[in-house]
């Protein structure tokens, strides 16, 4: 069990005014552990990533600086020149463009986590969402634009929810482990996506004589409005606000509704929740469906926002749903945490891309793999927060021992 169960023996007040209750101490401990652990995790991961860079003969500091400059986050610095700021704005738009689906898929993983389930299926749900989105948005010629967008988003989210709901239903009815079923659903979605847009596939476009494995283009009036940057150069679209809104919805649902209370109760202790009169099975299905809805929404937003069409390769190389696992874990499944870790990974992805990393400093094709290594390390260390918690408790024990020694001296 975790170290939280270690309670110090009752002791007489030592004269100070501050005498925290057990609950207060636990809360502080959780909060501190809450942001210290991810921070330490990320720092260790980046440090080891730096060692990898060093081992292959490059300077890690200048590499990280080049990656940082590629992310456009220097836009927030007040002191940079206006020319730099123009470039940084372009980069930052791309970073936020990647952050948007990462937030939504991160929420998909996080919501299931809060119900005690590990949703590895974000990738499949995202793929299903984007396939449906490209289908709906390229059909219905002449439909009213905003209505068409809403229809696309609803269909994609519902299909994502249904796709994830399969895993939830299997867990609720026959107890099939959601990890296994979501992995399987991921690969089924992968091959379905590879089939529908392939040569001769049912959704393939015949525009270029049918020689390219790509979908139809979506209707021009379904493109999401670009509010920052040039629409032709992939500016930032309003889908970003949808992701922010989803964060708020996520927080409210979990913390201010009966549904969220039940989901958290089931995630915390299914037996106790059952004893309290909640339907554990129903909550598994609902939580999984909501999670899939978030991921399906991410697929729709990406298609309507900047992809506009999908080809087989898009389906096959996409990693958004997998990176989202790292996003949710590093963000400790909280709304704020998911936002910041999505931003971190969005920045990392963008900063290491061929378009944004200065090749004279570090080779972008290597840097792309560096991102994967850092991502793997983050997940590895987050999974082992026992390590960090252990260090934390050692520190506390040390402090208590010192306090004891002091008490002994004074009394």
């Amino acid at each position: 069990m975790s170290e939280q169960q270690f309670e110090e023996p009752p002791r007489a007040p030592t004269g100070g005014d501050y005498a925290p209750s057990v609950a207060e101490r636990l809360a502080l401990y959780q909060r501190a552990g809450g942001f210290v652990t991810p921070l330490v995790t990320a720092i260790i991961a980046f440090f080891i990533g730096g060692l990898v860079v060093l081992a292959s003969g490059s300077n890690p500091l200048s590499t990280y600086r080049a990656i940082f400059n590629g992310t456009g986050l220097n836009w927030f610095f007040p002191w940079i020149s206006s020319a730099d700021r123009t470039l940084a704005a372009l980069n930052l738009q791309q970073t936020l463009l990647l952050t948007t689906p990462l937030i939504l898929c991160g929420l998909a993983v996080a919501f299931a986590f809060r119900c005690g389930m590990f949703n590895i299926g974000g990738q499949g749900q995202y793929a299903v969402g984007s396939i449906m989105a490209v289908w709906v948005a390229s059909a219905f010629v002449g439909m009213n634009g905003p209505l068409h967008i809403v229809l696309t988003i609803v269909v994609a989210s519902v299909c994502g929810a249904l796709w994830a709901g399969i895993a939830g239903l299997l867990k609720a009815t026959v107890g099939a482990h959601e990890v296994i079923s979501t992995i399987m659903l991921n690969w089924i979605a992968y091959w379905i996506g590879s089939w529908v847009f392939a040569l001769g596939g049912p959704l393939q476009s015949h525009a270029n004589g049918g020689s390219v494995p790509v979908s139809h283009d979506i209707q021009p009036n379904t493109h999401l409005h670009v509010f920052w940057g040039n629409p032709v150069l992939q500016g930032l679209h309003i889908g970003f606000f949808v992701a922010i809104a989803a964060l708020v919805v996520y927080w409210i649902t979990l913390n201010r509704t009966t549904l969220g209370y039940q989901v958290r109760a089931v995630g915390f202790n299914p037996e106790a929740a059952r004893y309290g009169g909640m339907s554990v099975a129903r909550n598994y299905v609902v939580a999984m469906a909501i999670a899939g809805g978030f991921a399906g929404l991410a697929g729709a937003i990406d298609v309507l926002g900047w992809e506009f069409r999908l080809n087989v390769n898009d389906i096959q190389v996409s990693q958004i749903g997998f990176i989202a696992i790292a996003v949710a874990l590093l963000g400790r499944n909280t709304a704020v945490g998911v936002f910041f870790s999505a931003l971190l990974f969005g920045a990392l992805l963008n900063g290491t891309s061929t378009r944004h990393l200065d090749p004279s400093v570090f080779r972008p094709d290597l840097a792309g793999n560096l991102t994967l290594i850092i991502q793997g390390l983050v997940v590895l260390f987050v999974g082992a927060d026992v390590l960090v918690l252990w260090l934390w408790s050692q520190r506390r024990k040390l402090r208590l021992a010192r306090a004891d020694a002091n008490t002994a001296v004074t009394s």
Binding site: M184, S194, L366, N369, L372, G376
Partner: protein, 400 residues
Amino acid sequence: MAAARVVREPSPASRITGVAGIVLALLAYWLTLPPVAATSLVLPIVLGAVSIGLGAYTAVDGRRRLGWGAISAGGLAILLGALAVHAGRGNLDSAVVWGPLFASMFVYATPLTYAALGGLFSERSGVVNIGLEGMMLTGCFFGIWGAEQTGHWYLGMLIAMGAGGLLALIYGFFAIHLRADQIVGGTAINFLALGITGYLFIDIYGSTGTPDMSNAESVPNISISNANGFFPQAFGDLNLLVWISFALLILTYLFVFRTPWGLRLRAVGEHPRAADTVGISVFGVRYAAVTFSGMLSAMGGAFLSIGFVHSFNQNMTEGRGFIALAALIFGKWRPGGAFAAALLFGFSSALAQRLGSIPNWATYAVLFQALPYVLTLVAVAGVIGRSIPPAADGEPYQKQ
């Protein structure tokens, strides 16, 4: 709900009807496929419908497993018949030649067999191994790198096993000692392996890819016969590692179920506390099992790179580790079952590859690739017999 159902013994007749349904479906397959290949839709539809009917009767009577088996076999017969008629006699004869098809099945099944047997050791000891995919990919890269550096395939193999074992050892440390969530840890291993192999590949070989391999650097085939006929074509020229995988299967079975060490392994996976009480080192057994699973998975990966494809590219396992995991689950965590599932999945890959040669069929061949995952989903759903993992699978153990 449950109270309303009258509990009674299924009648003996339903066993006969169920078996008959499956036999009829098998007859339909035989008629549909070459060498008979009766290109008429009537026979498979009639036979399939009859076996579905018999299956339904059997299922209603209480033999759910047998009944559903017959129903799905009958459905498959109709589907197969329709596909065969659609393909046409000539195309079918060129695509479905049993000897080469079986040889190709063994090739596709071998990496899965290694990884699935590796996963079996790990999971039987109570450590879930989602990281099979990553360990396999590590084997792929280090196999070819080692063979290229040393000039000998067997040294490449050893280096691959060492690398896979090392990665598994790292995973083991997190999963066993630090009691990290094993699913999270396994996911991390997959990311790490993808990043590390991709990084090294580009750093060492650049964009030109791995160099051409000499004969000494690739695993040799065992040439027995090149005659025509089913057996010579299926078994006459298989890779050495394919034969080793057969041997490994038997050894794994004997080890896990017929030796004291196997008993200890299973005890640790089913009830670690009890095993600890009688003096078995839970941590020791788990470390050994996890490391060995990494070595076996890496062997499967090395077979891919230096036995089969003869080159490396990024993420070349493409989910094969997950198919191996699926085979393990589909085979109910037993060596024979896992091997049978690996053969089934290998067969579907081989068939997909050969069907791709029929004009206008390439797209459907793509869909065939999803078959292992669909079957596994059906298997975990428990329609045809439940798959139940070892009792302590995935639970970290804490000494008292």
